[in-house]
């Protein structure tokens, strides 16, 4: 069981309050109707699934219902931090995106 910090509630809470939302910062193709099959399939099915640091989406399901991002190490369950979507995006971009 993880302990996560909700950046909206400013509280550390047990995992059971949260819902997992999968990989963060996936981008829906801007115009799906004209996206080719490969682009669409990549968006639909492919995930980074790293062993190591992973940016992931969580929602404070039984709290504020807000989505936020967590940087978690999938190998050790260490947590580097929690951010709101917009703050997290800046950190994520500063790190060079998915690298």
């Amino acid at each position: 069981m993880l302990v996560l910090f909700c950046p909206h509630c400013q509280e550390k809470r047990e995992e059971e309050e949260f819902g997992y939302g999968g990989e963060a910062f996936r981008i829906r193709p801007a115009s799906p109707d004209t996206a080719d099959d490969d682009t669409w399939a990549d968006y639909l099915f492919m995930r980074t699934n790293p062993k190591g640091w992973n940016w992931e989406l969580w929602s404070h399901a039984t709290g504020c219902r807000k989505f936020f991002v967590v940087k978690r190490n999938t190998a050790t369950n260490s947590i580097a931090g929690s951010w709101t979507l917009s703050d997290g995006r800046k950190v994520y971009d500063a790190e060079g995106g998915s690298q």
């Binding site: 099959d37 639909l44 989505f67």
Partner: protein, 1015 residues
């Protein structure tokens, strides 16, 4: 009698308080403070069972959690607990226990016969012998009976259990000298400290070594003082009888506290829990879990009367029990000396074979002074005896390699103790991914003192391989200061050196298996793992059969399985495997340490989450009405919904039939309060609906409702429901009962992550509204009696309209929508008036014989109309087109709604998709099983191509025949009449070993033109 009491004042038992107990039907006496094991030994009971595979006599080996043999069944009936280690069962008045092994009787065990044929039962015996599935059933019965340990109770558990969730700045695991000193240092500095110890009293191994001098004080006085001060510190909490059995990610410790297990049955409270599970989140954890002595491996080392040297010492010093009068011990190290001296002073004759040619001279002198016969350079190559140890065969072993260099005497004895060194209790450290490392000097897998300080985990004392008392206490100071530094607290009190009377240790000899001069497997059996009957020869055999990984060797031989989880055996097993593999011990490594450190009952894990408190139940506001009218309830998610209402003399089928007929011919009423309801408001609410639903919401005017299909991004139906336009910026959405929470989270996800620019707010209002659906040709007349401010006429209030008004005196939203195909009105009021509304509608409908109906009738009515239930008729692989619901998809919306693009994927757009159809059986009385396979031909000759399956199936009272919905490959084209051309509508349904001829038809069986709902 060989084992006996030595009444000395240092013993931790109260000789003034005798206790009577029963074991295997006989009565014995022990004393307060005894464990079942110490009391049995004091009474001369040696043999406690038979071994798992060979049926060999077995007795007590250890004195704590490491005990592999003495598994007992404590108490009887509903109170019985299987497989408790006698070494951990505190004695109480009237305790009743029995052995768990030995079948059919202890004195004659069937398996002891198999012991004579043991060369036919090598490692992997079961794998090799029972690979034939034909043979297994013949043997299974006998083997299961012979192989078992204790038996689970058959009655319901009488006890209650509790869960406690807590936070701590520091958790210290282990109440030995290091744990106590660390807790004191941290507690003095003002930290919130939780100290856990599995034993009855604090002190750890010091309770077994009362003669130690610490800081100039006798050990017990030192203990007493430190415990008194700890108890006086307000922020220190101490839990004894509390075993920390798991350490999870992010410093979560689970521990089980035994609250009543030590009390006589009559004194136990029925109103308080037997055990409590503590789940503790700690900022810092200090593991002071100590070490467990491992025995040496030698021939016949499993005879009753052979214990670890430390267990011999513990029984003598802590419990006042000398296990024998003539004791032979062997050791590879210094740790066995104190016990040997204590036994000699207690009047036992003691011979100590030290495998080292040059023992520690200080200990040698002390041993001589105590009267111990020390034999340097000797080892015990084998024990003699049949049901108990009778003698030890000594041999001279060479100084530089583990081989016999000369013969030695055979010494008669009635107790034998061996010490192969200490194995640190690293389990908790390893539970969340930590790995111990091999320390060649200490001959142990150890955890580092600074543990994983970065994440707040520290280790101190025996677990780090610091086995000497003085260096361990100094290490406790260091670790304390490290924790204080990490928490920003100043240390209180000086950190001066703590002196003890313990001599400086000298290195142990590197020996695990004592040689007997024979090739492994040819001498007497030398056991590594007692509980699983794994011998040194078994490990060699596994290696010969090319098992390389220690994890595989473990599973092939069963090394380290069972309730003791290899606490005595693992290191010996790893070392013997390393030798057989020609590798170093660190190269072989350890197996994986997993929770639980020691067994925990299911009752404790479940705690109060059973029966009514297992899961929350949700009741609608009308619940009491339903109960009063004979409703039989079903669980839908957490909701309790009436499934049908039984009248006198009716069975379920009759009730459903009556309810359906009422709704089709007269008037029925259904509680629809459980439907998920989401209130959407904001300037962009309409645009948001356009994006999350397949159909268009652009034209939906206030006062109108629309049915929508919600798709996932794969284009598959994930939910459906009716949404009403309250105003241009305000919509009321309904979801399926089970999907409410998921849909809200789904919508929030899209809004927050993809379209935060849209001005829309979502609120779950499921519990705020109560909904009564008045259904049937007479529903308008019923509603008219309790509603005067809505024009209910068909020309004014049309199908798929909604109106605001007053029903039964309560403000209401009335939706003219229908899940039955009949004229119907769904009346929504503030949930607080739900009961009032329901009763008022029933009273108004009384003259029309208004009939409450449940979910069974609801399902049947909707199936007659071909209305799908998402999750029953769909399974996450159905598009709107597969459901023949293209009318609910608007491909012209400007924004590419969720799922739209996936319609064009080759698989989604391709042929041969499973599609929704209706099925009519040739024999109208046959109701197909839901899940029945749809096949092409009546013959079933595997492999048979599966065309689809039945999703919903009922007997329709309206039609007087059976109907079914199914998904079938290319089903839409197969439907009659179109499918009749090539006979493609003729298929077969297979279930229960029979095939049934079916015709593929439209799924709308009743009123295909919708005249009733539009009436």
């Amino acid at each position: 009698m060989t084992s006996h009491r030595i009444r000395h004042e240092k013993a931790r038992v109260d000789f003034g308080r005798p206790i009577s107990f029963h074991f295997d039907g006989k009565s014995y006496t022990g004393y307060a403070g005894d464990t079942l094991a110490s009391a049995l030994l004091a009474n001369g009971v040696r043999m406690l069972g038979r071994s798992f595979k060979y049926g060999r006599p077995r007795g007590i080996v250890g004195a704590g959690a490491e005990e592999p043999n003495a598994l007992t069944q404590v108490e009887t009936g509903a109170a019985t607990i299987p497989n408790l280690k006698a070494t951990q069962v505190e004695l109480y008045d009237g305790l009743t226990a029995r052995r768990t092994t030995g079948w059919p009787a202890l004195d004659f065990d069937l398996k002891s016969v198999s012991g004579r044929f043991s060369r036919f039962m090598p490692a992997g015996f079961y794998y090799k012998t029972f690979q034939s599935r034909a043979l297994w059933p013949k043997f299974e019965h006998v083997i299961r009976q012979a192989a078992g340990y204790g038996s689970a109770p058959e009655e319901a558990d009488l006890d209650s259990y509790d869960h406690s969730h807590r936070h701590a700045e520091v958790v210290v695991v282990g109440g030995g000298p290091c744990g106590l000193l660390t807790a004191l240092n941290l507690g003095r500095a003002g930290l919130n400290v939780t100290l856990l110890d599995e034993q009855r009293e604090l002190g750890g191994w010091l309770l077994s070594y009362p003669h130690a001098i610490i800081d100039g004080q006798p050990g017990y006085d030192w203990l007493k003082n430190i415990i008194a001060e700890l108890r006086s510190l307000p922020r220190v909490q101490i839990f004894t009888r509390t075993s920390a059995f798991a350490l999870h990610d992010l410093n979560l410790i689970q521990a089980v506290e035994q609250l009543q297990d030590h009390l006589p049955l009559a004194e136990r409270s029925e109103t308080s829990p037997r055990q409590r599970l503590h789940r503790i989140r700690a900022s810092h954890i200090v593991l002071a879990t100590g070490a467990i002595e491992r025995p040496l491996v030698f021939g016949n080392n499993d005879l009753p009367g052979i214990l670890t040297a430390s267990a011999l010492t513990t029984y003598l010093n802590r419990y006042g029990v000398a296990v024998g009068r003539r004791v032979v011990m062997q050791t590879s190290n210094d740790f066995a000396y104190q016990g040997a001296c204590d036994l000699a002073r207690a009047g036992c004759s003691v011979v100590l074979a030290d495998t080292r040619t040059r023992p520690n001279t200080v200990w040698e002198q002390r041993a001589h002074a105590a009267g111990v016969d020390v034999r340097p350079g000797y080892a015990i190559s084998g024990a003699l005896g049949s049901r108990a140890v009778k003698a030890a065969k000594l041999v001279k072993i060479s100084a530089d390699q583990n081989s016999i260099s000369g013969d030695g005497p055979t010494i008669e004895c009635d107790a034998l103790g061996s010490s192969g060194g200490l194995s640190p209790t690293v389990h908790l450290y390893c539970h969340d991914g930590g790995r111990p490392h091999w320390d060649e000097e200490k001959l142990a897998f150890v955890a580092p003192a600074m543990g994983r300080a970065a994440t707040g985990i520290y280790c101190v004392g025996g677990i780090t391989g610091t086995f000497g008392l003085q260096p361990a206490l100094m290490q406790a100071h260091e670790v304390s200061d490290a924790v204080l530094a990490a928490t920003g607290k100043a240390s209180v009190g000086e950190r001066r050196s703590i002196e003890t009377d313990e001599p400086n240790a000298i290195p142990a000899r590197r020996i695990f298996r004592v040689p007997d001069g024979k090739v492994e497997g040819h001498g007497k059996k030398a056991f590594v793992d007692f509980q699983n009957d794994v011998t040194a020869a078994d490990i060699h055999l596994a290696v010969r059969e090319n098992y390389r990984s220690i994890e595989h060797i473990k599973r092939y031989t069963a090394l380290g399985f069972g309730t003791d989880q290899g606490k005595l055996s693992n290191v010996n097993g790893f070392a013997i495997a390393a030798e057989a593999l020609g590798k170093s011990i660190p190269d072989v490594g350890t197996t994986t340490y997993r929770p639980a450190y020691s067994p925990v009952t299911f009752g404790t894990l479940a705690g109060p989450h059973e029966g009514d408190t297992f899961e929350p139940k949700r009741y609608t506001p009308m619940h009491a009405s339903h109960v009063a009218r004979g409703a039989v309830f079903e669980n839908v998610g957490q909701w309790l919904r009436p499934q049908y209402f039984l009248k006198a003399g009716e069975d379920q089928d009759a009730a459903i039939r009556r309810e359906c007929i009422a709704a089709r011919r007269g008037v029925g009423i259904m509680d629809a309060s459980t439907l998920g309801k989401i209130d959407l408001q904001g300037k962009d609410a309409r645009e948001f609906l356009n994006r999350v639903y397949a159909n268009s919401w652009t034209q939906l005017a206030p006062g109108k409702c629309r049915y929508g299909l919600m798709l996932d991004e794969n284009g598959m139906v994930m939910d459906d429901g009716v949404t009403a336009c309250i105003s241009d910026e305000h919509f009321a959405m309904t979801t399926t009962t089970g999907g409410a929470a998921r849909v809200l989270s789904w919508l929030e996800n899209w809004h927050q992550t993809e379209w935060p620019d849209l001005d829309v707010y979502m609120t779950s209002v499921t519990d705020h509204w109560a909904t009564a659906a008045v259904v049937g040709p007479k529903s308008r007349e019923v509603l008219a009696k309790v509603c005067s401010d809505i024009d209910l006429s068909p020309s004014s209030f049309k199908f798929m309209d909604w109106r605001e008004g007053t029903v039964a005196g309560v403000a209401a939203r009335v939706f003219r929508i229908s899940f039955s195909g009949e004229l119907a009105f769904e009346v929504n009021v503030d949930a607080n008036y739900g009961y009032h509304l329901w009763e008022a509608l029933l009273a108004a409908g009384a003259e029309f014989d208004i009939t409450p109906y449940g979910t069974d009738a609801m399902h049947l009515l909707r199936a007659e109309k071909g209305f799908i239930i998402v999750g029953q008729d769909t399974d996450g692989s159905m598009t709107p087109f597969d459901l023949d619901m293209a009318w609910a998809v608007s491909m012209k919306k400007p924004f590419s709604f969720i799922g739209k693009r996936s319609f064009a994927r080759s698989d989604t757009a391709g042929p041969n998709r499973k599609q929704l159809v209706g099925l009519l059986t040739e024999d109208p009385s046959i109701v197909l099983a839901e899940g029945a396979q749809i096949i092409e031909a009546p013959e079933v000759n595997p492999p048979v191509a599966m065309l689809g399956h039945v999703t919903s199936s009922y007997f329709s009272p309206e039609l007087g025949r059976s109907i079914a919905l199914a998904v079938v490959r290319d089903g839409i084209k197969r439907r009659s009449p179109e499918g009749q051309n090539a006979g493609r509508d003729r298929l077969f349904a297979y279930f229960g070993g029979q095939t049934h001829r079916v015709q593929v038809v439209s799924p709308v069986f009743v009123d295909p033109k919708g005249e009733r709902q539009n009436a």
